[in-house]
């Protein structure tokens, strides 16, 4: 069973993503902020990370930078309310596998997750 | 529960919309045109029969920009109204007034139903040309008033600086007048008490005449300097100043680049004397000078006016010394005065030529001290109109 770690400060959004993934047979680990997300990634070595961008303290860009700096070879999908092309470009430059805009739908999420894990 | 969506428009309503003095077009969610009112027919010259069923965004590319086209789907999907200001969308459906001016428009897109559940979008366009022009007019007037106020303030400040410098110039010249008067008195005494020989008498009379001549030139210079304290800085046509300087010095071998033609610089009075001084220096001190070249360029925002000749140039050890007070003849403006006068309006000068290859004066003018124009409103014309 593939392990997906979610980094998301909104409980509302965590619930949505968690439901989509557990219903499809993924093991889900939930974290509430960037700092905790990076720590749990180092400990648990998930198959994939799904992270929000706009978070207080450590944001999604900083999560991507940390993954790169620590050479944690885990693919990351960004889920964000920021729809600007410049934001998506920046995420990809930092190594994000995919950028999804909120509100996400089930098919979108599952397609991106399966693609990321398959590539990995 | 009743669907709270947009109003249902009956056939009677459509007849009313057809008569309204605003442009009204109703489209389906694929942007095909369902309704085109008489006002739009009049504005565009396009009859209903020609435009119905056509795609609004394809027919009018002004509507096919992101800030309109990406918002229109919201009207159908969520039924939110879309407001389109005249600032971002001045010509929603391009149309001309009878005098040929483009109509300035603002609009709103509203969700409506024409019977049934299908949501359509109604684009209502108002002509705000007069209002827009009035506001632009007021803004321009306000900007002109602000600019004039700023210029007046700048001129007042420059006049204060000029008056401070004026007292400094006056002191120097008054002392020199005193010296000449003392010398003239001395010669006069000789004339009346000691001299017998007619040749000696004539010679001494000549010396007195020369002292008096010098005094006359000092007074003339003082009167010129007085202008500094009385007249505020102005915009001078450089072409005109150069012409006047050439006539004053009777030196006509002066060439200038095409950029000089419309160049104006903001400067205290005495600019003609300053340029006359450049030409005189080139003529007398340049020794082998055959021509003077004047050009203008920019370094970033700063203007660089260059006055150069093909004479012997200024020796390296004299490049700063030539700007010091007391150097050269006291009957005319010197480079010391030039530097001080320029400084009143923030202009600086230095000599950057290669010794042996000619003198080159680099005059550095701040961005708000130069412009390219023929005549400015309110400016004293420096050339006959």
């Amino acid at each position: 069973m593939a392990k997906v770690l979610i980094i998301e400060d909104s409980s509302f959004q965590r619930k949505i993503l968690s439901e989509i993934l557990t219903e499809s047979g993924f093991e889900v680990i939930l974290t509430e902020n960037g700092r905790e997300g990076i720590e749990r990634t180092e400990q648990l070595k998930p198959d994939l990370i799904i992270t929000d961008l706009l978070m207080p303290d450590v944001n999604g860009f900083q999560v991507l930078e940390a993954l790169r700096a620590k050479k944690l070879n885990v693919p990351a999908i960004i889920v964000t309310s920021d729809i600007q092309k410049t934001t998506a470009l920046r995420c990809r430059d930092l190594g994000a596998h995919a950028v999804l805009n909120k509100p996400v739908n089930k098919d979108q999420v599952l397609s991106a997750v399966r693609d990321a894990i398959r590539v990995q | 529960m009743e669907n709270p969506g947009g109003p249902v428009i009956s056939t009677e309503c459509l007849a009313l919309l057809d008569m309204l003095p605003s442009g009204i077009v109703i489209i389906r969610n694929d942007f095909s045109i369902l309704f085109w009112n008489r006002c739009l027919e009049e504005w565009t010259g396009i009859k209903k029969g020609e435009i119905l069923e056509k795609n609004l965004l394809l027919e009018f590319p002004t509507l096919n920009q992101p800030t309109v086209a990406t918002r229109l789907p919201q009207v159908f999907a969520v039924e939110t109204p879309v407001y389109l200001s005249s600032k971002f969308h001045p010509h929603l459906i391009p149309a001309l007034l009878p005098d040929g001016i483009s109509r300035v428009q603002r609009g709103a897109v509203l969700p409506v139903r024409l019977g049934g559940d299908e949501v359509h979008a109604m684009l209502v366009i108002e002509d705000v040309t007069d209002l827009s022009h009035q506001i632009t007019g007021f803004q321009n007037m306000r900007d002109i008033a602000r600019r004039e106020l700023a210029e007046r303030k700048k001129a007042e400040e420059a006049l204060q600086i000029a008056n401070a410098k004026l007292s400094l110039f006056s002191v120097i010249t008054l002392q020199d007048i005193r010296n000449q008067l003392t010398a003239a008195r001395g010669y006069n005494y000789l004339l009346s008490h000691s001299l017998n020989d007619i040749t000696e008498i004539q010679s001494t009379a000549g010396k007195i005449d020369r002292q008096l001549s010098l005094i006359e030139k000092y007074i003339s210079l003082m009167l010129d300097f007085e202008q500094l304290g009385k007249e505020p800085p102005q915009w001078y046509s450089l072409r005109q100043v150069i012409k006047q300087a050439m006539v004053q010095v009777q030196f006509f071998q002066v060439t200038s680049g095409p950029e000089i033609e419309d160049l104006r610089i903001y400067c205290p009075p005495l600019l003609e004397h300053i340029f006359a001084n450049f030409l005189e220096n080139a003529k007398w001190h340049g020794k082998t000078t055959t021509q003077v070249r004047i050009s203008f360029g920019t370094r970033g925002d700063t203007g660089i006016l260059t006055v150069g000749d093909d004479g012997v140039g200024v020796p390296a050890q004299d490049k700063e010394r030539i700007f010091r007070e007391g150097l050269g003849t006291k009957t005319k403006l010197t480079l010391y005065h030039t530097r001080e006068v320029f400084a009143i309006t923030g202009i600086s000068i230095r000599e950057t030529g290669v010794t042996g290859k000619g003198a080159r004066f680099e005059i550095v003018i701040p961005r708000d001290g130069y412009r390219f124009m023929r005549v400015l409103p309110g400016e004293k014309p420096q050339e006959p109109e």
Partner: protein
């Protein structure tokens, strides 16, 4: 009236408003050609009777520029976008490329602000509509200027039991920081409807 407004509800509303602001930033990006840097909005839920105190701390007593749209559906009210007037002027000048400084808004600037307000309000209400599968009808945007106490008293609602959701958002456009506040004024009974709708969506 007694109603428990819990963290889950606050979190859900914040997230929905976030989504709306993100969409609005996308459109403002198209208009300015510049990237819009967003911050996490701060949310407060306040009964309208207590809003006087909040004015002073959150919005101050200066002149405010407000764009608002009424909405009606399963829950109804007014959505308003509030800026300190000098922020509104800076925003309008920045978006329209005007440079001359002004001290108050002329009618063209008011129009421009109305359009910006419409973009943001539509995006936020669109987000609420999408996420909660709710349907509304809306009025066109209107502009008001003045201190918030008078705007609220005259234009937001006259109902004593209304609730206000206040979301303070900040965004940076070309290094200029613009602070706007989104007010969602919910009429009597609408807050409960909104919570019911959220619970239904959240499962």
């Amino acid at each position: 009236m007694c109603m428990i407004v819990d963290d889950e509800f606050r979190d859900a509303i914040t997230e929905i408003i976030n989504i709306g602001v993100g969409k609005a930033a996308g459109l403002l990006n198209e208009i300015t050609g510049s990237h819009i840097q967003l911050r996490v909005p701060e949310l407060r839920l306040v009964p309208i009777g207590e809003i006087a105190d909040v004015y002073k701390t959150v919005l101050g007593t200066d002149i405010l520029s407000t764009v608002m749209q009424e909405f009606q559906g399963n829950f109804s009210g007014v959505t308003a976008l509030v800026f300190p007037q000098d922020s509104a002027l800076s925003l309008v000048n920045l978006l329209s490329g005007d440079q001359s400084p002004a001290t108050d808004m002329d009618s063209v600037q008011v129009e421009t602000l109305k359009e910006v307000g419409n973009i943001i309000i539509n995006a936020v209400m669109g987000s609420i509509s999408n996420v909660l599968s709710e349907h509304f009808s809306f009025s066109l945007p209107v502009y008001y200027e003045g201190q918030l106490s008078s705007i609220a008293a005259n234009h937001l609602t006259s109902e004593e039991d209304a609730w206000v959701v206040i979301a303070r958002t900040q965004f940076l456009i070309e290094s200029m920081q613009i602070e706007g506040t989104i007010l969602l004024v919910l009429e009597v009974g609408s807050m409960e409807q909104l919570m019911k709708s959220l619970r239904k969506t959240n499962g």
